[in-house]
Amino acid sequence: MAFATGAALLSGALAGGTYAVAHHYLLNQRQASAETQTYNDARLVKQDLTAAGTNVADVLSLLAPAQGTRSLVYRGRQWFSTSVSVGRSSVPTALLAMVRQGTPAMQREVINGAPAVAVGLPLPAVGADYFEIEPLGELARTLHLLAGVLAGAALATTVGGVVIGRWASARLVRPLARVAVVAGAISQGALDQRLPADRDADLAPLVASFNGMVDALSRRIERDARFASDVSHELRSPLTTLQASVEVLAVFGDGLPIEGQKALELLGTETRRFSEMVQDLLEIARIDGGAAPLELEELPLDEVITRTVEAFTAVDIPVDVRPGAKGASILADRRRLQRVIANLLDNAGKYGAGATLVSVDCAAGWARVCIDDAGPGVPAGERDRIFERFYRGPAAGRRADGSGTGLGLALASEHVGAHHGRIWVEAAPGGGARFCLELPVDGP
């Protein structure tokens, strides 16, 4: 666009300037030559007329004016001219007046339908006024042609400017657009994408450094992923052995003395808790490392929630499916959604004396699930902190069964966040806590 404007302005100015100069120069030249010719011719006429007894008409006919020039003489209240096409009326009034008063003058005027220069000279010596009318028709035509050509050239230059402008910016924009596309793909996780090599000397360094950066990043990501995977495997194996051994020992529980039975019980509980913690930690590590993409599918919202609640606990927790949610579908990762619900129910059980109500609603493109419990509720100051990792609040020390890793709500928060949803806690009408999560119905 800038190119086009610049080209238009420049060529317009140039054309305009050229035309103005040409016009001015040519016109002036013409006028000067008309003046000179008039003076020469006037001198001749004067000479001839001075010679006694000459006829103005004859004198005029002796003149050999340049092509197209017409001469007129006004003498003794009579008008004489070299051509029938010009007469008194052809002489511009203003010019006539001036010459009558004795002043030589020149005027450019449209005479007989064509532009012309009229020059008038008083000849007091012979009591006559001499006029010459020189047509400018040809000059005018030449100037028009020139104007046309220049205008055409200006237009052509402008169009050329637009074309060049387009081409130049496309040349710049296209590779940049390519960079943007590849960068976008990489940020979505396609780490094998690279920019193709560019022959252009200006762009080659950009391509090289971009590709280098992506190489370094993907190496780093691979390393992290491998670490997480190695750690994962190394941690899970001993835990398997521990748990299985505890189960084996449990069979002999009755034969053990009281301390032995107690020790066995502690072993079992803590092994289970440790195992859960490791799994939660590995889960969080996977999410942090970006190695946990969502597996989205269209789910029947009310059915998933209802059945998950049923499967979670033997105790019947009422599920209130509001009209807005009946028959509604949601695009989400089924496993994660179930884990979040299970997490919240588990939480309600551990710290909230059990969940009392689960409500499901759907409005304005958002699905909301709320779980109320019968516990003491969460104080306003803690409502943000409880979703932090390892935060277990003042209730931490009291749990005798040692369950709870402090990661449950943090994981729930991660899963909900991955869906671009929200999770929060507020006060339930009955006095306990109400945990709510909101997910977009159309998925993240």
């Binding site: 995977s229 994962s232 495997h233 899970r236 194996s237 001993p238 835990l239 398997t240 052995t241 521990l242 748990q243 299985a244 051994s245 189960e247 084996v248 069979v251 195992s275 490791v278 799994q279 190695a291 597996e295 269209e298 029947p300 059945r307 998950t308 049923e310 499967a311 579908s329 089924r334 496993r335 179930q338 299970a342």
Partner: protein, 226 residues
């Protein structure tokens, strides 16, 4: 329910602990420390269930599963260290019937094995033959033929087919199939169903890519076209 279990696991401690536990549960346990050893052991003695860890020295669990599958329809239970879709699906496609993630909870292992063995027993099924086009299912005998040719299905695949065939034209959801065939509650992994449907289609459909018998009903589940 007693049975013979082949445990293919390279970690000595896990092998020991799980072996003890399963023995306590009443099973006969044969142990193998690598995939190669496991295959040899399988040839030597019949097993009712094979437990195979995916991570093994030498050939990995996927390969072991594939080779076992080529020769037999024995129920195979995979033990994975990750729940990544890739591992689970790859293992199921290789021929496993079900999977467990480490750390393996012993009680859960026991339940899965029981479910697999239950599937293996013919049990009390109606003595009928169901036919759909070229496909013929002799429910009690556990035999499936297509256009007269016998089709080899694993016990799990057979159960899945029977479940769909017992309700022709009805849509069965993934959780429903998971419960009836695998015995999982609603928390089960629906990928088990998806991969097994794929395996089933590969064996009974004329054109597995364009199934005409076992239809996917988007958002709802699967249906057998009567």
């Amino acid at each position: 329910m007693p049975g013979r279990i082949l445990l293919i696991e390279d970690d000595a401690n896990i092998r020991s602990a799980l072996g003890m536990f399963l023995h306590q549960e009443g099973y006969t346990v044969a142990e193998a420390t690598s995939g190669e050893e496991g295959l040899v052991a399988f040839e030597a003695r019949a097993s009712d269930v094979v437990l195979v860890d995916l991570v093994l020295p030498g050939i990995d669990g996927f390969e072991v599963t594939r080779q076992l599958r080529r020769a037999s329809d024995v129920p195979i239970l995979m033990v994975t260290a990750r729940t990544d879709t890739h591992d689970v699906v790859a293992g199921l496609e290789a021929g496993a019937d079900d999977y467990l993630t480490k750390p393996v909870v012993a009680k859960e292992l026991s339940a899965r094995i029981r479910a697999l063995l239950r599937r293996a027993q013919p049990g009390s099924r109606p003595p009928t033959t169901l036919s759909f086009g070229l496909l013929s299912i002799q429910v009690e005998a556990g035999v499936v033929t297509r256009d007269g040719q016998g089709v080899i299905l694993t016990k799990t695949e057979f159960r899945l087919l029977c479940e769909l065939a017992s309700h022709p034209g009805w849509v069965l959801s993934r959780p429903q199939l998971l419960e009836r065939v695998w015995g999982y509650d609603y928390f089960g992994d629906t990928r088990l169903v998806d991969v097994h449907i794929g395996r089933l289609r590969a064996k009974v459909e004329a054109d597995p890519a364009n199934p005409s018998l076992i239809i996917t009903v988007r958002g709802l589940g699967y249906r057998l076209e009567p």
